[in-house]
Symmetry: C2
Subunit: 445 residues, 2 copies
């Protein structure tokens, strides 16, 4: 392998010191998911192309695979039978997995899934072609109780709240509230209205209003639609404000009751985490109940770092239907935002806690044995690369942030190279302070 | 998503109970790598196709990507400039990463990398199109001390020896021994001989001898080549047996000294782990020193589950050269072998330790609060899906292997549903026995 190597746009790669931070973040998210009883799942990276293309709007994002020397004589621009593509999210593969393995799973089925996904989009800040998602979903057979919609924000609050990152705010809404309200207003094409409302942040209320009226709404209807979208509240007070708009519809009432429950649960367990925001629509058309978006305080302009919602029709097979609710954390986007502002650091770039010095190459086995003894007690240790002068061996440790250097001798000794303190020690029993054992990740906030 | 869903041959997927085992295995391997001071690295899944194809013999295995709606009008059968393929191992991407980031890395650079790789091969038992590899490598600039070749088996011995799997035996050899010996015999084309010797396990000594003679060796030369290949020893005794064959060459001596060191180090630190086996050649042509293969006791016929070696010329850029040594554990192959024989089991299929029962839907918040209190103490807990009769709620736990059911009440109580014992408990202070906290993975051996 040689020369002219340049990074690939849209395919971020971290240095080991950053990867160490990513692992720490992924590990803490995973542990939180497990604390809530979500079981681990990993699906293959590929799906049949026809499955990936069922939602037409994402077709442009798919990477298609072909074997370099495929027997079938290569590909053309049409979709070849059995052709495979890389998954662009974890929801489509999960739905497929549930259908394929329904007979072997216990329902309701709670799973988490932390994997890379790929999209052939034009790369730009916050958009990547390869990135990590961390998903949870709860699916049931036939029906899924609405209380699960109230559980999702608690999980995300714990998962992200436990990290050395800025505070998060989860914005919740309910598609039944929106659709019921629009229906109650006498609007037939609720989907068109949703699409317009979804643009509020981008183009502002005046232009959304124009769009709504151009789409056939009366001025009065458009005003009500915008009035609903303006409602925000940190507690269930939003429900009265909706009712004051004077629109009534059974679906609206159902949605309000569900949304009140989501907000009440969050207020009881995690005050300040959730805000009802009736502007949130989530473009994807498969959501049918609660929807979630999540903003990072101080980084709101980067958009949602964790989104999802309730879906009733994603996975169906003959008479079987598997409604679910889920959310996805955009881990790579989150990290890229924080790395770009040096808002996350690790105390060292390597796992090593102790560098074992080497007196001479003949005595290397002694150093190897000391390192082995330290490892048996769970202390990450490596042996110096050569028997250079001790000053040079110490600099090897310094450059990597390794805090201790071990010197084998008649009596072994260990030096904290930060303070310079050195003391006799026995590799079979010595332990460093807990905070030195592994690299520590800290945030700027 | 609907109907006609079938598994894809070569793309294994585990059920959550198996994924849980895979995670445990990967986690323990990772912790061992970190104990030896290897830093984490993850490279993108794709590489420019021309980089992947530099080693001609693997070109048939590569999956090429195209964006479904690429602006450049699709692909044909030739290699398009800037075309991307999925990596087929972790060594080629690592070499590229080192060249790309040499200025930001500290050498010698020790890294581990645990990722999926893809190969477009025809699937068969033990061969997959998507599978996990767990790699370690140590690379240095210009020169790499040979003592690192002795360290690799210790890491693998700890990583695999700590798992609930059968014992492993690492077979080591040194390419300098083979090449030096062949040269000392007056053989010019040592590569052809290596290729023949590599077939020993498959076709036996008689046919290898025929192949060698057909390739231009004298009967005496062929006999010596086979005599060398027959040498095996659990200690450095192999060196005398090689010398007794009466061949001398400086490269042979150098290789023998290196191999003695590898074996001696292993005998001192992990007796029984390593065996010198002078038949091992490793087909890949980039190895230049020690080579490793690893067999699982009782599963030898499945071949090596962890292979690697020393390479001097993998990563070069202008005047910079980065020699290295590394090894790769074929995690998916290992798991598939053991799963196929029910040789690995988890004590339960979900992380959940406690199911919190629900008295009535009105009282659900009380159960949610009890679960939150348990989680604050690190106890995985989930709340029952509905307020069914307690017998039914207990069966929900039973079917998933959840050991405890929690009953909120005037005084809360907790029941071990395996023994039937029930006792009053406080969610803020109760803790289960350590062995119940997480699923436990055990092996059949």
């Amino acid at each position: 392998m040689s020369s002219k190597i340049t990074p690939l746009s849209g395919f971020p790669e971290w240095l080991p010191s950053q990867r160490l931070i990513e692992q720490e973040i992924l590990g803490r998210v995973q542990r939180t998911f497990e604390l809530y009883g979500f079981a681990p799942l990993e699906t293959r990276a590929v799906e049949p192309l026809d499955q990936l293309l069922r939602k037409g709007e994402t077709s442009k994002e798919v990477y298609v695979l072909r074997r370099l020397q495929a027997e079938d004589g290569g590909t053309d621009d049409t979709v070849v039978k059995d052709e495979l593509g890389l998954h662009f999210d974890l929801t489509v593969p999960f739905a497929r997995f549930v259908l394929e393995n329904a007979g072997k799973l216990q329902f309701p089925f709670r799973r988490y899934q932390i994997q890379k996904v790929w999209r052939g989009e034009r790369p730009q800040e916050g958009r990547y072609r390869e990135f990590y998602q961390a998903d949870i979903d709860i699916v049931d057979r036939d029906t899924l109780p609405a209380h699960y919609e109230a559980e999702i924000p608690l999980v995300i609050g714990d998962a992200l709240g436990g990290l050395p990152i800025p505070r998060v705010k989860i914005q919740v809404n309910n598609r039944k509230v929106l659709e019921g309200f629009y229906r109650g207003l006498g609007i037939e094409s609720t989907e068109d209205v949703l699409r317009q409302v979804d643009k509020l942040d981008k183009i502002g209320p005046a232009r959304v209003s124009e769009g709504l009226i151009a789409g056939g709404l009366s001025t009065a209807q458009a005003e009500k639609v915008l009035a609903l979208a303006e409602i925000q509240a940190p507690d269930s007070g939003f429900a009265d404000r909706v009712k004051q708009l004077g629109v009534s519809d059974p679906l609206l009432d159902e949605g309000l009751a569900e949304l009140v429950r989501v907000v009440d649960t969050a207020v009881a367990e995690k005050p300040g985490l959730v805000v009802a925001d009736l502007r949130i629509a989530r473009g994807l058309d498969y959501y049918t109940g609660t929807v979630y978006e999540t903003l990072l305080e101080g980084y709101e302009r980067f958009g949602s770092i964790s989104s999802g919602g309730r879906y009733d029709n994603l996975a169906t097979s003959g008479r079987d239907v598997f409604p679910g609710v889920g959310i996805s954390i955009g881990v790579t986007r989150l990290l890229a935002i924080l790395f770009g502002r040096d808002a996350l650091t690790a105390s060292r770039a390597v796992p090593t806690c102790v560098l074992v010095a080497v007196n001479s190459e003949e005595e290397r086995p002694r150093s190897v044995a000391a390192a082995a003894a330290l490892r048996r007690n769970g202390i990450p240790a490596e042996v110096a690369p050569n028997a250079a002068k001790f000053g040079k061996q110490i600099r090897y440790a310094e450059r990597r942030g390794i805090p201790y250097v071990w010197f084998p001798g008649e009596r072994d000794s260990v030096k904290d190279i930060r303070s310079g303190e050195q003391a006799d020690a026995d590799a079979a029993t010595w332990t460093p302070p807990q905070e030195d054992l592994r690299p520590v990740v800290t945030g700027a906030v």
